[in-house]
Symmetry: C2
Subunit: 337 residues, 2 copies
Amino acid sequence: MTKVTIRDVAAAAGVSVATVSRALRGLPSVAPATREKVETVARELRYVPDPYASNLSSATNDTIIVAIPFTGQWYYAQLVSSVEAVATAAGYDMRLHVAGDDDQRRHLLEVVLPQARRVDGVILVDIPIDQGEVHQLTERGLHLVAVGQHVDGIVTVRIDNYGAAFEATTHLVDLGHRRIGLIGGMPDGRTELSIPGERENGYIAALESAGIPVDEELIVNGNFSIAGGCDTARQLLALDEPPTALFAISDEMAAGAMQAARELGLAVPGDLAIVGFDDHEFAGAMGLSTVRQPVAEQGEAAMQALLDAADGQPWGEDRILEHELVARITTDERNGS
Amino acid sequence: MTKVTIRDVAAAAGVSVATVSRALRGLPSVAPATREKVETVARELRYVPDPYASNLSSATNDTIIVAIPFTGQWYYAQLVSSVEAVATAAGYDMRLHVAGDDDQRRHLLEVVLPQARRVDGVILVDIPIDQGEVHQLTERGLHLVAVGQHVDGIVTVRIDNYGAAFEATTHLVDLGHRRIGLIGGMPDGRTELSIPGERENGYIAALESAGIPVDEELIVNGNFSIAGGCDTARQLLALDEPPTALFAISDEMAAGAMQAARELGLAVPGDLAIVGFDDHEFAGAMGLSTVRQPVAEQGEAAMQALLDAADGQPWGEDRILEHELVARITTDERNGS
DNA sequence: CTGTTAGCGCGTTCAA
DNA sequence: TTGAACGCGCTAACAG
């Protein structure tokens, strides 16, 4: 790695390093001829500033951290990828941090972030945080944005999980179902996510507003995985009075439920209707009815909110994006197969 | 962001900054008592070294770049995630670079990487690179590792794509199929990936070794997407003499094919058998027969190869990992539905 | 074993 | 408009 430094450029251009620095960053007070000379030389020498050195001396950082609970899941991958696009376009570096269980969460919020150097913003995706922690971090000058679940005191980008679950359940009710199972619950190792609860409340409210009694037996925990969805669906379908429809609060779990139905020889939607949540890229191919949430838009909005905050704009209300019920084959009444 | 520097620690501990640096990094020549004192003070002050400053002065970097053609795809997300785990454990920072089309690829290889500062290794995932470019980069001191497709002169981690495709096709032949369509081709905007060709060759060889003539009409380009798989499957099934089985060289395309079959009212595997490639997380739930390739292992092996290279070990042969045919419902002869 | 002296490569004062 | 000097926070070389 031969390295061409700002000094080499200065020498070759016959000016001082300060002038090179100014010229290359487009600062005003540089004679046009000088600037052009410097730019030419820099290009010839293939000079690129060392970001470490430059950040070190300028005390700016232009780096943000995105914290997610899990890696490898479609939803988080999409989200991160959309944040990254906006961040890169704005000249920011993005770093990823995974904080799944409560220990990791605490470590992130109380060790990594408070001590983080060269970081000016954090996007917390489905990461619970209490007011004391919020205070500690904002006082340190960190800008915070939450995605997914609401956090008091900081900008939150999310959808209406309650309303979306209400619509999904009502869709099943409208098809005539009265025994509707809910595959909900927390991902493994988590206990304090609010999103599953919000969706469960939407489910319950929809049943109540349709005059259908809520049966606790029909509410199970599928831990947000395909395998979990499969297991819990099997369990629900083994009940004395099994459900005729299932609402899974993630498409992974819905896919698992479809697998369980197939293994049990049940026709979907003939014997069992299924609705998922997210509109995973595979949902269309599987014919899975689901609630679409705008994943990339949430990532973009979150990064934009961070940029606004860094720009000195005060935080406003939660930014609530639109969801949409997408009815496909797994709830198609004309399709009995 | 109040910042506590090494000087604060030195002052509080009553020693010099050099001693603090040595003590905290576990270097040998430090008195046990001094070390303990320094460590205590550092902990109380919540001191963490600034990585930028430390890299700047040590001229080490401990950063690698992973280059992938696309973002958001399951295969690449898994791979990156597994590289990241090994990199983090080894104390390396990982940066991600997306180089999809040929312009981006050229920009990466001829601008970003040659000029990259503070980077000591690159993992190229399905990124073609010619010998001149390899030379230019290795001469600059960069360690290179390829994943997916073979590259002359550098360590490559991959599977036997030819053999895997041969097995998948033979599986269909063994089930009695003689008209077998291939959904292959390049992802949108790419022209020089070798993997699709290798799999296509495996397909052709399997047919020939079974004495089945190769029909060019049955070989189509699904550009590695769900939508592409759906479109091309529709196209194949509309032929005068349509195939009774399809081999798609990615699970996404296979899923698209399943969707097309359903829309056309064809039973799978009764009317149409389907085999995919990758063993995507959704393949099990869909009952899709496929070729499993060890995704995470490839990422781990690649990062390990990079560490070995940084350690001065010479590159050896290609590291070829095992694949495995996973027969599920879409090729189950007992299942006519 | 420890402290002092030099930088790493850059941005940012000040004078000039 | 330009340049010299200083400092960012840390590690490396040398003394002692």
